[in-house]
Symmetry: C3
Subunit: 349 residues, 3 copies
């Protein structure tokens, strides 16, 4: 029996199966410094302990996407080592703030299985959860991936496809954000005067700036998350592969787009939920990422007067500035589009 | 009204105007680790809590230039987003030590305005200040930049050009350095036997080593400082620009030269003031930085027997070793010179 | 007299001489985050304070190899600045755990000298020791390097060649590992079910994955360790040198191989000793590192029922997957081999 992990294949998954993932990970101010160096994020609440404390946190919480990437990274060796494609995310909620010193661990429960008609692969749906050291759930999301079968002849399992919401409802948002004192939220220091009420559904915002990605950067990021997906690190193998190059972790694009979105969304400091996300096309080192956002909805959160929710659709592109809001060409995505992300952000009222 | 920051243009500035910059930033040991990884600095006081504590600090202070870069980065979105050129620094003093856990914020006051005769641009002089979370000034400096006008037809403001000192006087130095116990300063551990009295005005020191800069490195550094100047990050745009390449943040060169200067100035662990600095020519990734220093002056600091001041002129070059102290060719700088920096460093007596 | 360090030459070393190296260094969670980002290491004990605390540590100890690299880096300016070649290591033991906040310093004692017959160089043997801020030895090892003579005509010293053990004995292992509570060691969270008893002498493990190295990555790593060896950083000089390129620090390869070895050795979380190591051929940026391991011995540690020792030989290669365990071609190493490392790792029983 081999001592190395060859990952799970489609027939290894069973409905209801719960997998406890390795490796637990203490998040530190060191991780936060690296996250800042990798993306240049500037949200005041995550950047300044003093600012965060002023409005009601004990200190700066860890950036939501850093939490996401760490939890996601843990699921890779068990869920997606033999994945052909990462098909989607849904029903993703941030449920408790994470602070430096907290230790994150993760589990995944298999909630759907559907063999593909070719008999070579199947789709696995998992609900993954991230926990802190006290056992509190900090993150909960569904993802589905196409996974290879070990043996094409093994029988297909009963088909189970979970019902997934197109979007979280506003009353499901806000658990990870303590009630804040907006009177003490300094909009000058935050870098934007715009509040919840200033954004309108249908409004589109070009985030203006572009960020070129280097191989060393995405490798540092992806290893920081202890994400072991082979395609990100191994030029020797990928050089013989489909693209001839290392693929950049899709989450790296999400974090770049989010950091760029500060320019226009400076007070939308907390991601409360991700409704869905699609990595439309791959990104490679040397290309420059741009982003723009459309406001899809504006919602109150019942019982909260401090913050409101904006449902945002952020599009990231490669080597394509976004002043013209590139998205589709006919029915297909514009060839520059790499990310189409639908999420809820919270912002002071 | 656009929600994105398009920066200030020349006619947006008024004499006496004070700008509170975003984003406050808590400095951590994570930032310090990255700073070490980026430059390889080896000054014992900043490297070892035990060494710093031994001589009288509570623990290691944050490197002076890391403080400078973070404060400088905050000023960029308001002062120099539309700058054509960063013309100079002067009257820069470090006024209080910064420790991990401190939160830095920054303001700038407009102290000078002078429209250029072409009517297209003007020079803006600002006094920028960095503060810690208690409101104490930790850094105070003047910089002037050439900024584009939004509308060449807008009227020129009354010309105000501040008087700036050629250099700080020795009695203005040392506020950020507590009195240290030199008997407990271990010169073996510090890596150099040379004290204040061992340096002579006119003495020149070749710092010997060279350091090649990679794109990923300067991007990580500049994002760590939350400096948003576009020219450092966007190969797509810069590829069509003047140089065809991303420009490296001038402060990256200062930090490289400072780290190289450890070899020859190992005990000059604190920068007390920057008298002036000029980025003589641009640096690009792939080039190797070398440095040499001339001792301009040696000064006592009134009332202090622990340390003295050395006024230093450090020259950095690209792809040019400094054994021959390259500086000028006739009246012009030697083409290899990228930095000409005049500063005061403090060193045990 | 020059103020810069030109390093020691062969005739500067004397048997019995003890050198206190600069620069003391406080290790922080920032360094640990960078170490994770550079190698992607996933050993649970070093990754999670909660996991480490559960089994008996106060919190996560610093990765053994990070300790090694920091101590090693300190010795470079005094021992190997004029080295022609780093010939070997032996008798290396980790003697006390290091935690974030500890300050490391280092000394070396000259224990052997042997001039080469060409009169141009000689071999220097040093025993280097790393200490924490309380003066406890955390690391002790012998290394020998070939160093240039300043003057080929200077007389040869009396030849002293130390006797070095081929391997540490099992009863010399374990000082840096507190007795752990194996019942509380969660093998699911650790990512492997395999214990000491599951490994057999002669067993070979292909670690499967490959990791491509970028210039920015090895430079960041080597500067993080404050290692000043010129060949790693200066493309201008190395471009004219033997390889035309920057050489990657051998320790970077050791850490890459160790991180890759998690896949197959996930519970062997502590390196107790390094019996010997050889950097068989150089690594350059752009190449991909693979690794495999042979179990050489399995040993009990007297008085300990919690952990046992595995003597491991880890081979790292460049651009050569290790499914076929590449090692020798006839009497010579396979041309892909870059590292041959013999060490003791401890693992729960």
């Amino acid at each position: 029996m081999s001592k190395t992990n060859s990952g799970n294949f489609f027939e290894d998954f069973r409905i209801g199966q719960v997998i406890a993932h390795a490796t637990p990970r203490t998040v530190t101010t060191g991780d936060i410094a690296l996250y800042t160096a990798l993306y240049g994020s500037r949200f005041a609440v995550q950047s300044s302990d003093a600012f965060a404390h002023q409005i009601g946190y004990s200190k700066s919480p860890v950036d939501d996407l850093l939490v996401f990437h760490i939890v996601f990274g843990k699921t890779v060796p068990d869920i997606s080592l033999n994945a052909v494609a990462n098909l989607g995310y849904a029903d993703c909620r941030f449920l408790a703030p994470v602070f430096p010193g907290d230790t994150l661990s993760a589990t995944s429960e298999v909630i759907g299985l559907k063999e593909n008609s070719n008999g070579q692969t199947g789709v696995v749906y998992v609900r993954s959860r991230g926990f802190n050291q006290k056992g509190a759930v900090v993150l909960d999301y569904v993802r589905w991936v196409m996974v290879r079968k070990r043996d094409p002849k093994s029988p297909a399992p009963a088909e189970v496809v979970p019902q997934l919401p197109r979007a979280l409802a506003p009353d499901q948002l806000g658990d990870a954000l303590p009630v804040i004192d907006v009177r003490k939220y300094n909009f000058d220091l935050a870098g934007s005067k715009h509040r919840w009420g200033d954004y309108l559904p249908g409004e589109r915002i070009d985030h203006v700036d572009g960020m070129t990605v280097e191989e060393a950067e995405h490798q540092l990021a992806t290893r920081l998350y202890q994400n072991t997906a082979k395609v990100h690190f191994n030029q020797f193998s990928e050089g013989h592969g489909r693209f001839g190059r290392r693929l950049i972790y899709g989450g790296h694009v999400i974090s770049l787009a989010r950091a760029l979105s500060f320019n226009g969304l400076g007070n939308a400091f907390h991601i409360a939920a991700i409704n869905g996300g699609r990595h439309v096309s791959p990104l490679f080192a040397g290309l420059t990422v741009f982003a723009w956002t459309e406001v899809l909805e504006r919602a109150e959160i019942a019982g909260r007067e401090d913050v409101g929710a904006l449902r945002l659709r952020t599009i990231a592109t490669k080597d394509q500035p976004c002043a013209a809001y590139p998205l589709k060409e006919g029915d297909a995505y514009h060839p520059s589009v790499i990310l189409d992300l639908d999420y809820w952000a919270l912002i002071p009222r």
